[in-house]
């Protein structure tokens, strides 16, 4: 007989729910209220119905920002995940150098977002930055404030620099948990290095890799500070990602209604993707366990 699920344990979550109510649920409800009204300040609101949603759904600006956002998340995932795995595979497995590598790699993770942005903003400057100056001296035309490609390369390299370690550390943890017996069996079968990776290491790392992909996707989908500090969304709107656009709309133009409608749709997309990832992850666990 299958065991029935006892949901009573959820009551233990109630205190957290109270906290989350103030930090997330009540603000989110307020956003929903804003999204169906218009305001000119002074806390006076006028009913607008679903007009803002309709306007945002037909707004090229939002679709463009969403396109740029998806491109950004796609590119950084395509670089960070394989690179992180590659780094983890080549790290010393034990001893002093292993710990040394681990500490060294966690350093970028400890730096606050705005500091990362500032570091790269200065690093890339042609007049005083090491990277910008060197590229300029080599005769490469690099200017992230004017050239779209340069701006994109800068924010992507910055994100890769900041977050690849996270993927590497997670992949390393996954690799460490593989018992030696698997490798011995592979050796007896004279499996090639590729086959060991393909049939032992990769399947065993799947769980942590899913977590890495989920974390990196979520973070990059919400990214604001670093590109804002480096490019401010420019040149033009070339690096205006979703959250930068949202802040421009809500705080810069004080268009609370459209911005609220925008953020609700943004939230729904994130909710959907997180749910898909979560479901895939828990089902993978169940199949393995």
């Amino acid at each position: 007989m299958e065991k029935t699920v006892n949901q009573k344990a959820w009551f233990l979550v109630l205190p957290v729910l109270l906290l989350v109510a103030f930090s997330a649920v009540i603000p989110l409800m307020t956003v929903v209220n804003y999204s169906v009204q218009d305001t000119f300040g002074n806390n006076q609101f006028f009913w607008a119905g679903l007009g803002w949603f309709e306007k945002m759904l037909r707004s090229e600006r939002m679709w463009d920002a969403l396109g740029r956002q998806l491109m950004f998340s796609g590119i950084i995932l395509a670089i960070e995940i394989p690179l992180g795995i590659f780094v983890a595979l080549n790290m010393p497995k034990s001893g002093f150098w292993s710990s040394f590598c681990l500490v060294l790699m966690s350093l970028p993770l400890l730096i606050p977002w705005n500091v990362v942005g500032t570091i790269w903003q200065i690093f890339g400057r042609v007049d005083i930055g090491l990277l910008g100056y060197t590229l300029d001296a080599l005769g490469i035309n690099y200017n992230y404030t004017q050239d779209i490609l340069a701006a994109w390369v800068t924010i992507i390299v910055m994100d890769v620099w900041h977050w690849t370690s996270l993927v590497a550390l997670l992949a390393f943890a996954g690799l460490k948990s593989i018992p030696d017996a698997y490798y011995q069996a592979a050796k007896i079968d004279q499996a090639s290095r590729w086959k060991v990776f393909r049939f032992i290491e990769l399947p065993k790392m799947m769980g942590v890799l899913m977590i890495a992909i989920l974390l990196r996707f979520m973070d990059s989908f919400m990214i604001y500070t670093e590109p804002f500090v480096v490019t401010g969304g420019g040149p033009g709107n070339a690096t205006t990602l979703l959250s930068i656009d949202l802040v421009k709309m809500a705080l810069g133009q004080f268009d609370l209604g459209p911005a609220a409608a925008f953020s609700i749709m943004y939230f729904l997309v994130i909710l959907l993707i997180s749910w898909v990832f979560y479901t895939v992850m828990t089902n993978l666990d169940k199949r393995e366990g």
Binding site: T4, Q7, M29, T30, N43, L50, E54, W275, N283, K286
Partner: protein, 90 residues
Amino acid sequence: MDWMAWTWPTAIFFAVIASLLITFTVLAIKFPETPRTGILRIETTRGDRLFITLLGSAFINLAWLGIVGAQQPYALIVCLIYAAAVFRWV
């Protein structure tokens, strides 16, 4: 509550969601269930199916608004059919 800019429609909206959550909580306690596997090939409980229904309904409403753009209440009928399908087959 003034700062939250409440309106009657949004209040009703949240009241419906809150009462759904409470109903399903009570149901889950009174009638514990075994998760089942449906056409999505994932294990779901009633609560999961409610979540899938609500999230899907939000997207159905947005799609209706973006594609049809008029007579929004009809989108709710689509949502109800969707909800029935989710509870029956997922």
